[in-house]
Symmetry: C2
Amino acid sequence: MDSDKSGEAAKITIQEPKADTKGKGIDGAFIAPVMVAAKAAQRPRKGWKKGVAIVDLVLRLSAIVAGFAATSLMATTDETLPFFTQFLQFHAQYNDLPTFSFFLIANAITSGYLVLTLPFSIVCIVRPRAAGPRLLLIILDSVMMGLTTSAASASAAIVYLAHNGNSSSNWNAFCLQFNNFCQQVSSAVVASFVVSALLLCLVVLSAFALRKMK
Amino acid sequence: MDSDKSGEAAKITIQEPKADTKGKGIDGAFIAPVMVAAKAAQRPRKGWKKGVAIVDLVLRLSAIVAGFAATSLMATTDETLPFFTQFLQFHAQYNDLPTFSFFLIANAITSGYLVLTLPFSIVCIVRPRAAGPRLLLIILDSVMMGLTTSAASASAAIVYLAHNGNSSSNWNAFCLQFNNFCQQVSSAVVASFVVSALLLCLVVLSAFALRKMK
């Protein structure tokens, strides 16, 4: 069968010299339509990948905004109560609790990391089929997601205690006194959870992009 | 140029009738060696992917052990102090603090999830080139990593308070009294951090496996 086909192919070349002069020939005649079909199939896939890369950049920019919001909200917590005794002035700041200091450092690191990865995200838009930057991003994003989630959850546990206290361990709520302090810290924690949710979305998106990288 | 090439191709078919009678022709003669080379390149890659899938299963089994250890350690915390007053008996249990209850639920969910994903991990060993199960695993592993890290960090913040207290907010350490309780809870938190580190390794491993899935 195959030998017949090749015979036919040879015949076609001899019988149709016009096709040859157009600069295609046997190989061209058979391969060209296949390549056109393959390119047509690649075009929507490439467009899809470019779309994913653009969504990645938008999510990353949102995470940067949320990250800097969380960091600055926590860094600027500072409340002094209007009443004071002879020896003591009531004053609350983030570094009164070590967990909040960890929160500040972790969120600053994550925000800085997100800014540094912007060029890689842009490379993924320009070259949607490059798997290297995507792999780097998915690994570092997972690590940073762990760090941010950890900081946000630890602070959430403390904020919960500050709001509600705990009778079993005799820890009293202080949010009734330091209301502004508590509100600002709660906002910072929420912003940090937004960052970690966005990082989770980025990891899932990168996983899908790597899956289709064929 | 192309027309010259096609002319050569036609010449070869006519000059070598033996190649045709073997049932290969022009297409076969060019494609066969390429396919052999591609198969030779695929063989070690398939072995590498199988290795990754086996490491995935081993890490998953370790995470199950650590997850159940964390859950059972937290669930069995129960300490009653030998001294008591007329109205009050000093007693500590995990459900005295809501954070520890969350820890128990989150670790139980993660352990259950890890057991349920064992079949998918085995499918990845049997069929190393299947991208579907791997994609499912990387997404769910990321979500579960977030949950476990969150539970472990929140409890770590509380355990830190229980050990050291906090003078600014007037929260006293109770670990000097409830020593066994604190030790057991600390072990549970460490086990939970081990689970979340193993889940991070699983995410990174799956990302590498998806990258090479070509």
